[in-house]
């Protein structure tokens, strides 16, 4: 199978979209003429870019089960997850964050991360017993370690409403990391995040990447993304405009004219 932009065959991809599309009240959000197809290899760091309204977040929704594709299929680890519910997809190992950061308002920062993990005590059978307490210590320790990693450990007892927008984004990342996902989909992780925290985020993503985690990142901050990702997908009007290594994308005339607007981001 060959893709526009000269991509290699998708066979063996960890996460794969085949001819997916989505319409909202008649408007095509994702898909183009033949549906959107692309693959993400295991351990890859993929950047997903495109102008506003190109369908990046909708693509994430289709891959994480928040929305169901009108056509085609999504495969993860060889399994068709097109119609799976978002919670089963999360349990299978696809983590995601949202364009507008989401949090559990009634819980503290630490509890938010703890709630991200799946505890055996969440099943009704275990909830009435006491044995979940053994796992609880482990989960809390893991959550604390992750809060340190994202730089929120001093805010562990804070209420979510006291966090800044950037801290909320980091909290969302932490809540997914505690699940140790195979693939992490990050939707605009630097939006509203101040430069100091952005550096920390870049270091964290590099660290996760070298640890073997597969990352797909939607980002408007191209300086940030092109420096980190090893493969870029460019979406325009819901279709794949180009893909390849960051250097090629920077030089691609179609991308420059459609999106980069004269290469000012290169």
């Amino acid at each position: 199978m060959t893709l526009p932009g000269g991509a290699a065959a998708l066979n063996g991809a960890l996460l794969e979209a085949r001819h997916i599309s989505k319409r909202f009240s008649g408007l095509q959000a994702v898909g183009g003429s033949d549906g959107l197809s692309f693959g993400v290899d295991r351990g890859a760091f993929v950047g997903l870019i495109g102008p506003n309204g190109a369908g990046k977040s909708t693509t994430f929704d289709l891959m994480s089960g928040v929305q169901t594709s009108d056509t085609g299929s999504v495969f993860f680890n060889g399994h068709d997850i097109t119609r799976s519910s978002p919670d089963t997809i999360a349990e299978q190992g696809i983590g995601r964050t949202f364009q507008t950061p989401r949090a559990f308002e009634s819980l503290t920062v630490l509890q938010n991360v703890v709630a991200g993990a799946t505890s055996p005590g969440e099943s009704l059978r275990w909830a009435f017993g006491r044995s979940w307490r053994n796992h609880e210590t482990e989960i809390v320790e893991a959550a604390q370690a992750i809060l340190r990693r994202v730089g929120l450990h001093e805010r562990a007892a804070a209420r979510v409403s006291d966090l800044s927008g950037g801290e909320l984004r980091m909290l969302e990342v932490a809540r997914q990391l505690v699940r140790d996902p195979t693939v992490l989909l990050l939707d605009e992780p630097t939006a509203g995040v101040h430069p100091g925290l952005q550096e920390r985020l870049a270091a964290l993503l590099q660290d996760l990447h070298s640890g073997g985690m597969t990352l797909v990142v939607v980002e408007h901050n191209l300086h940030f993304l092109l420096a980190l990702a090893d493969h870029i997908l460019v979406l325009a009007d819901g279709a794949l405009l180009a893909q390849g290594p960051p250097a090629d994308i920077r030089a691609d005339p179609a991308v420059i004219s459609a999106y980069l607007g004269g290469g000012d981001a290169a």
Partner: protein, 309 residues
């Protein structure tokens, strides 16, 4: 005024309705579900208890079934019947959220009420079932009414403990997460739909038990006892007590029942003053609600209780 009698009645009815309010609190404050038909689950418990304990029909009875089972088996069946009723009504309704769920549950309760009124083979229609067994006699020197109040209070405490156990576990935390932000909870692998359904079923069981105890207490299972008014009283008790605190919920219910009973038990000198009091009761009730909602004394008391613990 007979204060001991008043207090016993408040303890008994306060405990019975406290169980219903607690269950509603679990559904609403933790599960994020608005159930405006809670009276139906209560009625299912009461009718089931009556049907399973009463003798077979005779004479003018129009009801079809009377099994004459011992009271304690009938109480268990009442809880199970409420569970089954919740499963049947929850299956189509729980896909809906917010006000749509509120309207559908309300409609279900109204349909059920209408069924009790018109299908006489269930419970004699409007007449109701009047031969409900009252199982506790005097216990030695302890009068029956005290035994009864104790049993009702025991049911309340047991419900409180079971719910608490559930809610302090990771299960409760996952419920909070789902209520706060369902999309984020799903992304964290929480099966929101399934857990909501479980909560709906679990919380119906104590309501069924409470219905059985209520039928014992009034020795009556009659449609007029199970109108939408019960639903609203329980909701008001929930709001009065502050939905976030289980102790507040219990205090709110007790306060509401106390107020209703004291108006009822007040020794009026003349028939005229009793009539005036009866008509003023609703006005005063409304004013008290407004005052309580403004100052939230029960919620504050419950918060203090929590802090001092």
């Amino acid at each position: 005024m007979n204060w001991p009698q008043l207090l016993v009645t408040v303890l008994t009815l306060g405990s019975i309705f406290g169980v219903v309010t607690l269950s509603l609190n679990l559904q609403y404050a933790r599960g994020g579900m608005i159930n405006f038909g809670i009276v139906a689950y209560f009625a299912v418990g009461a009718y089931t208890y009556a049907i399973f304990t009463q003798p077979p029909p005779q004479g003018l009875d129009q009801y079809k079934f009377g099994f004459g089972w011992p009271w304690w088996t009938a109480v268990i069946v009442a809880g199970l019947a409420a569970l089954v009723f919740a499963a049947v009504t929850g299956w189509p309704t729980l896909r809906l959220r917010g006000e749509y769920l509120a309207l559908t549950t309300f409609a279900f309760a109204e349909v059920f009420h209408s069924l009790l009124l018109n299908e006489r083979r269930i419970g004699n229609g409007t007449v109701g079932l009047a031969r409900v067994e009252r199982p506790f006699g005097d216990w030695g020197p302890i009068e029956e009414k005290y035994v009864f109040a104790g049993a009702a209070a025991l049911l309340l405490v047991a419900t409180l403990l079971v719910f608490r156990r559930l809610l302090v576990s990771p299960y409760g935390r996952a419920l909070d997460a789902i209520r706060d932000d369902e999309t984020a909870a799903l992304a964290a692998g929480k099966p929101a739909q399934k857990m909501r359904r479980q909560v709906f079923l679990i919380s119906a069981v104590p309501v069924g038990f409470a219905g059985a105890v209520y039928a014992m207490f009034t020795t009556l299972a009659q449609p007029s006892l199970f109108t939408a008014e019960v639903t609203f009283i329980v909701w008001i008790a929930l709001v009065l007590g502050g939905e976030r605190s289980v102790y507040g919920v219990v205090l709110g219910t007790a306060g509401l029942v106390f107020f209703e009973e004291i108006v009822r038990a007040w020794p009026f000198e003349t028939v005229r003053s009793a009539q005036i009091a009866a008509s003023v009761e609703h006005v005063v009730t409304g004013l008290v609600f407004i005052a309580v909602l403004r100052y939230q004394p029960f919620q504050a008391a419950a918060t203090r209780l929590k802090v001092s613990k």
